[in-house]
């Protein structure tokens, strides 16, 4: 990663760019066009969900009672807080308050872990209850057998397929986010010259907000499902 260090300003301009504005906007547009692909990525799953929800409206409504709204709500608050601390991290990166930036980042990572821990409880509960689609699927669900008895097992499997696919993909994004944020915090802690440029933090922030954004939609779709 050698660049001639002739440029002594606060941000380093890489050699393919003419000036810092061009570089910054390139970064932003690049990150956003990557997020375009992420939107389409989740969009497919979202569409599958809406389609089957539309086809099996009543059944999906009944099944969704197996999900724990409170856990979902707590997770939403956790992710929103992490987003807030993330913008603070970007803010501190811009004004070069490194220690404040570091603590904001660490708080974000903490939130991400909190999210995953709650997710872990949710998942393990469902796995124990045999709600993972496949040959070992247990239906009617042990939690509420009499209510679930009038829902066909196939539709329940579809619901949980979608549930695991969408929250699972989101969970993978959270894990990736933890890895990136961890690397970033490490670099900030070591006062690496790589993170002198606040754009790195800004772009990681964009990614993290996107993860939050997905959850903003997943939460009402799965947990607050109405009739």
């Amino acid at each position: 990663m050698a660049h001639d260090a002739a440029h002594l300003g606060k941000q380093q301009v890489y050699e393919q760019f003419e000036n810092i504005d061009q570089q910054n906007e390139s970064y932003l547009v690049g990150m956003w066009s990557f997020l375009v692909t992420e939107v389409m990525f989740f969009g497919v799953l979202l569409f599958s969900y809406v389609l089957y929800r539309w086809q099996y409206q009543d059944y999906f409504y009944t099944i969704h009672k197996l999900l724990d709204v409170n856990m979902g709500a707590v997770n939403t608050v956790i992710l929103l807080s992490s987003s807030y601390s993330m913008v603070l991290a970007v803010h501190f990166a811009q004004i070069k308050k490194r220690s404040a930036q570091l603590s904001a980042l660490l708080f974000t990572i903490g939130c991400a872990f909190g999210f995953l821990i709650i997710k872990y409880f949710e998942y393990s509960h469902k796995i124990h209850a045999g709600l993972v689609p496949g040959p070992k699927f247990v239906w009617p669900a042990v939690d509420n057998p009499e209510l679930m008895a009038n829902v066909p097992a196939s539709v329940a499997q579809m619901f949980f397929s979608l549930y695991f696919a969408m929250t699972g993909l989101h969970g993978i994004h959270v894990i990736v986010g933890i890895l990136i944020l961890g690397t970033l915090s490490f670099l900030v802690w070591r006062k690496s010259s790589l993170v002198e440029d606040y754009m790195i933090t800004e772009m990681i922030g964009l990614y993290w907000h996107f993860v939050d954004l997905v959850w903003i939609f997943l939460f009402p779709l799965f947990y607050l499902m109405p009739r």
Partner: protein
């Protein structure tokens, strides 16, 4: 890692600067390069290897079909062969050939930039491609796939007993390679243009790549997640498309074709970009209707997303829906036709030099027109009901995307070969090769139109129910042989030219464009000694321009008297 980059310090010394090839000879310097030109060369070698693999699979398929009862393959193996041909050719050759090789090499040169916006991302995209390709090859070696390149569910998700997951993983990873290339191109085209290079002064090659990148951005993730869902369905039984869970297998087809129809434009738009450059240069004429061609690229990109239903006329569409998709498919023909007419108009009153790239470009026009017009048969509901799933479709898409893309790819390779390698290729051999490829192509696929129209279904191993089809299959196989010989010719003379070819001057074709006029014979690592300022429109040719070297003999039309 830094050797390549630090050459920048010598930016101002014009003499004795090493070009991008001679700057470092170590293998390591190639494999960790961030130079877009070197990455393009890495891509070139890789995609050619895959082209060879895919061709071998095609050879097996063609040979097998010379007898109504098959020659020597098991039916299972036959299925795996044509799937291997389709997967390798589409995911690992056609989709990347022009954007990743020529696009990578030329975009920064054409817009006056020192490199792409994100050189490391560019290198990453190459390794993602390589990784995806390795998965694909592993799948082939360990048994292959028998679902066809379309991976229709529930065959792929439940019943197929082959390496579906590995192949899907390969395609998934390769998809991210194209996404990162597309992000790179979009940012580069938006932000890195040289001063004075406004949008309407850009070469049309750049417009075509912009449209392609937008398609990749909007389409590839859809197919990536769809293929991932199939893989998950196979592995974990979490199924979104499985009928046993009340799912809809046709949903897969929708999502698959939502990307895979625009994918055809990912293959053909960059090809059209190449054709613009070549035709304008060798007819010494400004491209006719520049703005229309530029806009038609974007129109194709947009309309291309609205026609996927024509792949599904026979899989449970409502009539209105089918009529809509049929109409939209007809509409896509308009921007394509605009391009073809404009190229023909560019030739008109031009000073035409039939060099090898030009010969390929004209060949492209021929193949593309045949492929495009037969496409109308397929987009028309009534005829498509008859033609769906026959060899007519096979012939149609080979003419459009394979014929079109390969012709343009070869045109581009020949056109920019002096810039890429600094050597000239033998012109006469080039034309012989072109003629053989062109005629071999028609010999291979013209009989398929006929046999398909007569009712030969695609993907069938046997046709003992209609032995009269044999003659067409034998003709087609013979044509494939000719095609194979044709492809070997450029490979041989291009490789030989690396050592024995004459040294190319800076601008062997006397072409316009930054990559010819402002860049050394072989570009340096940072392309430009100083960032050029552009103050003329693209394709500022006139018929009085100096001819391309060695082109005097091949000039067509009236020789203009010199005053």
């Amino acid at each position: 890692m830094s050797n390549v980059v630090e050459k920048k310090n010598q930016k101002d010394s014009h003499m004795e600067e090493k070009n991008y090839i001679t700057t470092d000879y170590t293998l390591k310097s190639w494999f960790i390069t961030k130079d877009h030109k070197r990455i393009a060369m890495l891509y070139l070698v890789t995609v050619l290897i895959f082209f060879f693999v895919g061709s071998v699979a095609a050879g097996f398929v063609r040979f097998e079909l010379t007898s109504p009862n098959g020659q020597f393959l098991e039916s299972e193996t036959y299925n795996r062969m044509f799937t291997a041909h389709g997967v390798v050719m589409i995911f690992f050759f056609l989709l990347v050939a022009i954007p990743a090789v020529l696009g990578n090499f030329l975009l920064p040169l054409m817009i006056g930039a020192r490199d792409l916006a994100f050189p490391k991302l560019n290198l990453l995209s190459y390794y993602l491609f390589l990784g995806g390709a390795l998965f694909g090859v592993t799948a082939l070696v360990t048994g292959g796939v028998d679902t066809g390149w379309t991976f229709y569910t529930p065959l792929s998700s439940m019943y197929s007993n082959s390496q579906v997951v590995l192949t899907l993983t390969g395609a998934f990873i390769a998809g991210f390679s194209s996404i990162s290339t597309a992000v790179n191109f979009i940012v580069t085209i938006h932000k890195m243009r040289a001063p004075g290079l406004t949008w309407f002064r850009l070469p049309l090659f750049v417009w075509a790549h912009y449209a392609t990148s937008v398609i990749i951005l909007l389409g590839t993730p859809v197919v990536a997640i769809t293929l991932a869902l199939v893989a998950v369905e196979r592995l974990l039984h979490i199924g979104v498309f499985s009928p046993e869970y009340g799912g809809d297998p046709v949903l897969f087809q929708h999502m698959f074709w939502f990307y895979s129809h625009p994918a055809v434009y990912i293959m053909i738009l960059p090809a059209m970009g190449v054709i613009n450059e070549v035709i304008a240069c060798f007819s010494r004429n400004r491209i006719f209707g520049y703005k229309f061609i530029a806009a038609s690229s974007l129109a194709i990109a947009a309309l291309g997303f609205l026609v996927w239903g024509h792949h599904m006329f026979v899989s449970s569409e409502s009539y209105y829906q089918a009529a809509f998709f049929s109409l939209m498919s007809f509409l896509v023909a308009i921007p394509s036709a605009i391009k073809v007419f404009n190229w023909s108009a560019t030739l008109y009153k031009g000073m035409i030099y039939v060099t090898t790239p030009m010969a390929y470009a004209i060949g492209f026009l021929g193949l593309f027109v045949i492929g495009g017009l037969t496409g109308l048969y397929c987009s028309c509901l009534a005829t498509d009901e008859h033609l769906t799933g026959t060899y007519f479709i096979v012939a149609h898409f080979h003419y459009v995307m394979v014929g079109g893309t390969i012709m343009a790819f070869l045109a581009g390779i020949h056109f920019w070969w002096p810039k890429m390698t600094g050597r000239l290729y033998p012109e006469s051999w080039g034309k012989i090769g072109m003629l053989i490829i062109f005629s071999g192509f028609h010999m291979t696929f013209m009989p398929q139109f006929i046999v398909g129209f007569l009712g030969m279904p695609r993907r069938y191993h046997y046709y003992y129910f209609a032995p009269e089809f044999q003659i067409y299959h034998v003709l087609s196989t013979a044509g494939a042989g000719v095609l194979a010989i044709g492809f070997m010719i450029p490979v041989v003379y291009l490789i030989l030219s690396l050592k024995h070819g004459a040294k190319a001057p800076q601008n062997p074709w006397n072409a316009k464009g930054l990559e010819w006029e402002k860049v050394d014979a072989v570009p340096t690592t940072h392309n430009f000694h100083e960032i050029p300022v552009v103050n003329e429109p693209a394709y500022n040719y006139s018929i009085d321009d100096e001819p391309p070297i060695e082109a005097e003999k091949t000039r067509l039309g009236v020789v203009r008297e010199s005053n």
